[in-house]
């Protein structure tokens, strides 16, 4: 009897113990370390920050393709660094913009837009996010052509894991509309949150960024749809463009948030990248004072280890660009011709000035905007003095050098000498303006490439490296990542069917021959 009582009490006790078989489980499964929401302003900051890349390898697309296509910076080395230097397909490096932009920038912006679009108190942030989204998608579509746009970044919000690809034409027309609307909606007399890392919430600057970006987007269509281009150029000018370098959109890198291109060149790819001859020659032949800010050379260096301070010179007269078309072995054949000790003796991007590890990354500048405006005036899409605007653009970029480092600053007299000597010449306006755009967009790889494709200037010659894998003279686009063949094959196939072969040759919509 006693034992049965005991048994009963054990049973009852166990019953109690297990009565709440899921008691406390909701609480147990709540993460108390990471928040489930965040002020969208801080998320916006992340979207802005990550647009200048976020880790080591993400910059390889810029370094190995963009810089090489526009013949500004080149590496003779191959294998994982091959790309534009050999006119090769290297799927490891063609995908970086895709993965970093969609996974960091677009995802964060989709959240910011979702959280702000219906909230009247967050109207300014909403419009800022629309502007920034347009900026990011221009880079994506200018790199790959047709890309997921309307359904992109919505893996969580709408559960879309296989977004469809949109035609570049549709994307651009929406970008134009968005930039127009968002810029117009911002009140230039007000400020939003000072937690904004781009402009500290100064809406007049955001508005000018929106309109300057609108001008950039409109000018992209100069060949394929001049009518639309002209319409939106007018809207952009009417809306108010950037007025000075103070309006520039840039990320102010710090010692904690470093400039990844600079980090890559000072670290893993130390001694592997050189200024290309066409770029150095252009600056040299025009006595461009920017050469002394951009370039340095370690005269007589026989090795990477020889690239040390005592050899360093920024003297423009001795700068020597690496000729296009060589690899690390065949480059030997150029040493006698150019009088260099080794490949390490060619000029490089100055890692103490424009690419020191905390050098700012520029997104949209006053200089670029003036140059685009000069072209728009020349084309008759807006009014003004094309020559003066062109000169203002050059001057602005020369003045912008000081923002990298005082060592890069260019004296006012040198600027005026250069500007005076480089006025627009009848019949060569487009070439002159876009050559200057090429210089003014240096280090902003995707923008330099896009404008080169659009304008055809500078008039570069084909990279003569033997065994080029491309059909024409230049790489026309980046192929879609291999990962899309695995995760989004149907939509990918549809995009390829619509746009053309998924290779380096296919021209996308706005890039008319």
């Amino acid at each position: 009897m006693k034992r049965i009582k005991l048994l009963l009490s054990v049973l009852i006790l166990s019953g109690f113990m297990l009565q709440g078989c899921e008691k406390g489980f909701d609480e147990l499964n709540t993460n108390r370390v990471d928040p489930v929401s965040l002020d969208p302003q801080f998320v916006m900051n992340k979207g802005i920050m990550d647009a200048t890349y976020r880790d080591n390898f993400a910059t390889l697309q810029t370094l190995c393709y963009d810089f090489a296509i526009v013949q500004q910076v080149i590496t003779p080395f191959g294998s994982s660094l091959s790309g534009g230097n050999y006119n090769n397909f290297n799927p490891g490096n063609t995908t970086q913009i895709w993965t970093t932009y969609y996974q960091s920038v677009i995802k964060q912006l989709a959240y910011v837009i979702d959280k702000t679009k219906a909230d009247a108190t967050k109207k300014d942030l909403y419009n800022q996010a629309r502007i920034w989204k347009a900026y990011a998608f221009m880079i994506l579509t200018d790199t790959y052509g047709d890309v997921p746009y309307t359904e992109a970044g919505k893996g969580f919000l709408e559960g879309i894991s296989k977004p469809k690809y949109d035609k570049q034409e549709l994307i651009y027309k929406d970008i134009l509309k968005e930039l127009d609307e968002a810029s117009a909606a911002l009140d230039a007399t007000k400020t939003s949150s000072s937690s904004d890392i781009l402009y500290g919430g100064v809406l007049s600057r955001w508005k000018k960024l929106g309109n300057s970006l609108l001008l950039r987007a409109a000018m992209r269509l100069s060949k394929v749809d001049p009518a639309t281009a002209s319409t939106y150029v007018k809207k952009a000018v009417a809306g108010g463009l950037m007025q000075s370098n103070a309006d520039n959109s840039k990320l102010r890198h710090t010692s904690l948030y470093q400039n990844w291109i600079a980090v890559h060149l000072t670290a893993r790819e130390k001694a592997n990248f050189y200024l290309a001859k066409p770029f150095v020659d252009f600056l040299k032949s025009n006595n461009d004072p920017r050469l002394g800010s951009i370039a340095y050379r370690h005269v007589g260096a026989k090795s990477g280890a020889d690239q040390v301070a005592p050899r360093t010179t920024t003297d423009p007269a001795v700068q020597l660009g690496m000729p296009m078309g060589y690899d690390d072995v065949s480059i030997k054949n150029t040493f006698t011709t150019f009088g260099v000790a080794s490949l390490y003796d060619y000029s490089q991007v100055n890692l103490n000035t424009v690419l020191k590890t905390d050098a700012p990354s520029f997104h949209v500048t006053y200089a670029q905007t003036q140059l685009l405006l000069a072209e728009a005036i020349f084309r008759g899409w807006t009014t003004g003095d094309a020559d003066l605007t062109y000169q203002a653009g050059i001057k602005a970029h020369m003045e912008q050098m000081a923002e990298y480092d005082t060592k890069a600053a260019i004296a006012a007299d040198k600027i005026s000498t250069y500007v005076t000597a480089n006025k627009l010449v009848a019949g060569k306006e487009l070439e002159q303006i876009n050559n200057q755009y090429w210089v003014a967009s240096f280090i902003n790889g995707s923008e330099t490439v896009a404008n080169f494709r659009r304008s055809g200037f500078p008039a570069l010659t084909k990279n003569p490296y033997p065994g080029s894998e491309i059909k024409g003279n230049f790489i026309n686009r980046m192929p879609y990542p291999d990962s899309e063949t695995i995760t989004n094959q149907e939509n990918l196939n549809a995009a390829i069917a619509a746009q053309g072969a998924n290779d380096l040759n296919t021209r996308f919509w706005w890039n008319k021959p």
Binding site: R3, V10, S14, L18, C21, E22, F25, L28, N29, D34, V36, S37, L38, V43, G47, F77, F89, P91, W98, Y102, Q103, K107, A110, V147, P148, E151, A152, G153, K154, G155, F156, I160, S161, K162, P163, S194, S195, I197, Y199, G200, V202, S255, L256, Q258, A267, K270, G304, A305, V329, S330, S342, L343, G467, S468, E469, S483, T485, I486, Q489, N502
Partner: protein, 1045 residues
Amino acid sequence: MKKKLLFLSFFTLVCQLFVLAQTVTITGKVTGQNKDPLAGVNVQIADGNIGAITDGNGNYLIKALPNATLNFSYVGYLDKSVKLAGTNVLDVTLSVDPKSLQEVVVTALGIKKEAKRLGYATATVTGDAMATNRTANPMSTLQGKLAGVNISTMGTGPGGSTKIRIRGQSSFNSVNQPLIVINGVPMDNTTYALGGGIGARAGQVNSSDGGDGFSSINPDDIESITVLKGATASALYGSRAKDGVVMVTTKKGSSKGGIGVEFNTNYTTDQALDFTDFQYEYGQGERGVRPTTAYPQSGVWSFGEKFQPGMRQVLFDGEDWPYEPVRNRYKQFYSLGTNLTNTVTLSNGNENGSFRLSIANSDNQGILPNNTFNKKTINLGFNQTINKALTIQGNVNYSNEYNKNPPQVNTQDMAIPTVIYTLANSMPFAAMEQNQLMPNGTEFVMSRFLVRNNPYFSLNQRFENIKRDRVVGNLSFRYQINKWLYAQGRIAQDYYSRYQDYNIPNGYAPIPAAPTGFINGSYTQDVRNFRERNYDFLIGATKKIKDFGVDMTVGGNQMYRKTEYNSVTVQDFVQPGLFTIMNGRAKDPLYAKAERGVNSLYGAADFSYKSFLFLNVTARNDWFSTLAADARSILYPSVTGSFIFSEKITLPSWINYGKLRAAYAEVGDDNVAPYSNALYFGVNNNLFPNPSGASVPVGGINTTLVPNPGLRPLRVAESEVGLELKMFKSRVGLDISYFYKITNDQILAAQTSDASGFTNKLINIGESMNKGLEVQLTLSPVRAKNFKWDVNLNTSYNTSKVLKLGTAASDTVISVGGGGGRTIKQVVGLPIGALYTFLYKRDAAGNQVFDKASGKPLRNDVPAYVGNILPKYFGGITNTFTIHGVEVSTLIDFRLGAKMIAGSNMNALRHGLHKRTLVGRAEGFVIGKGVNQDGGVNATKSDIQPFYETPNVLGVNEDFVFNAGFWKLRQVSVGYDFTKHISKAKFIKGIKANLVANNVLILKKWTENMDPENVANISDNETGLDFWTPLPPTRSVGFNLNIKF
């Protein structure tokens, strides 16, 4: 019968009185403990050649001297010797050899059952088999010993982890490791994985194998390991046992009384095995030119010139070295590893209780000179009867592990194995050893591939320490309420604290210089705390009414698990050479915490009819904290039955025992990390300046995984049938199982398009099937007095099929991992783990297509299916020969029917080491055999180096898709038990010695330049992918000595 015997003994007694012959006739009956007669028992007169065998009723008859000693031996039972002492009738009861464990099996929840009652397959290995011929991680010793169990090691040093698969792999993309249970209580076997797992911080250069949970066990403490293979066997363990259970029973003190002291020492040496067969005709250099200046450094390229006598090269150090092959790189670089384990055991006991205490120290020196692994364990087991009804039993295992400098594997940065594998074939080791640091203390770069560091720099400048203190223990109270009823309560906890730190050395070339005033480098310090608590209770009742017996058990379990992670990484330092958090410039802290709970109620009923028919029914309900409220409860049943037909049906006399069994069970599993139900954000550690310089926060969605709040538990339904036979006087034993398993509603992190903003999405998806056949065969072909030969053969066939994926019929493919053109997918209609890679482009006629301009090979647009990663067949054959007491044992194991991409060959190819790169060297160019895009015959000359770099650049791995199978001579041991030569009175009561060898020979393999098992991809799903070489496999040779006092 009794009367007969009485009469017989009376008769013999009478005879003895009258016949004074030298020999007498002895008769008797041999029975087991349960009084069943034993047929076929060997009866032998000691020191004589006369022998007899018992008949079908266990009776024997033998002539012997009146004072002779009779030896009784029988398979599966302990030998017994009885001195006649004047009697003519000698009935003997033999007891079951606990080592054979054929009869009693430890089943789920630690409940012991007679094997004949079981309706499912189990497999058991004794502690001896693990302790004698051991490996640093005891789990890898089991390779090849258990039917249906596949164990692989990683080549990551002595502190490395193992991967276990029971009955293949059933789930698409989650953990497939079995549950580890020690004395009835679960133990955490988390693997601290290579780069990207919980062992590594994002963005940090660290890719070492941080080990698993099982390494905390000392094999000397293991009494036996029982593997419960199917869902049916493990139904009572519920969710965590869906991939089977590895049940470890530790040794206990004997109740016989008297202090027992035992000492065991084990010493082995490990030697690196080299399976590379590289070209040594053309030396270091690029594009056909040998290095004649220090720069550009080549270091890891062998695309140089043909070796000619007397040639010289200028290497990265600027010095002039002979240009000649440097062969046997493994032998030159890797040292001899050593492993020494000493265990002292103390035990005592009486009828009221016993205890066993063991203290062990294990020192392992890896084949890398700076890699050591030390493990100290203390194990205490006790049981005590408090009064007639109450018994307390407990076991505590404390371990202290220190893994020093585990190598970097599966990566490039400071990964010594990768560098040694890809090193230029004329690179003298002396050049690297002499030039590790520049005069200013920074790294002396030897390759323009900066991340292929000088291996001596990595050895001497990089450090990593992993230390773990762990206590796993349980305490159980059992109250025998009356003869047929008991109640049991148990508390158990697995707790460890794990410390890890590692650096990136000052002056490491691939990282940027520090800002002025600082020196570059980085340092990370991690502390993890893990706690798992289990409370459970069991109430059991046994009733027997006539021929019917019932055993009822009900119980419940409450599991709670918490992991905490504190970590700080710092970058750049004030004081050179001082790696501390305080000395760092930029500090990046991280804290994470995860909690989960599972509550369960379960019950089992065991019915028996006589001693030949058994039925077992179980039910378990689990509640998971990780799942949504409406989906977190799941009930799963199991039914098993067995029929000992040999007791019911008249069988041919050569069959001693026959059993049929059948089982069906369902198991569910949450199989998902805590907090997978919501999207979480992260705030960046450091603020960012706004334009006016004020610091403002930055943060965002900090995951690339789309959460899912509506996840349901995964479900497994498994059926199993089996047949057990003992034949030819138990000299042949056969155990066959067939299983069929359907896994439903898997929780899968399916890859999504990057354009979705995420890389993966958690979904409940799909259905897959696994089926297989397992055969275990034991043979005793020879059982002569001084020669015994035993064979144990196990083999299994496993196959699987993906039946359904996604919600729409068009969802037929999901990608689960890979990179570099090597992908593992789940594809409807194919077995689990389909391997895909790009193929070379071919025209309709099958000719390879080359680029007209460059002459380089082209690839297809879409990756192709090239095979499956999971082996179809695996098993082992153990032969044991006992010759005059000397026991010689060999184990041959095999794994067949799987494919792999041996990607380390890709590295050998692109670096000019692979023999395939010899084609075209003499000419200085390659003209690929095939056509060009226009259809014409390819005539374009391609430079050698770019031609052989192309497959890697394009991700075309078709040249290196190999059969991943092998046949290996896994273990050899020779042992002798000296105990019989020691008189009982001596201080020493027993000595046993064994010579052992592990990983002795590869008898057959298909991969080039590597051992197919030597793959350091620890991700639970990514087998069959190889790229960066891990440490080479090793052959170990040594001895084991066991002394009892």
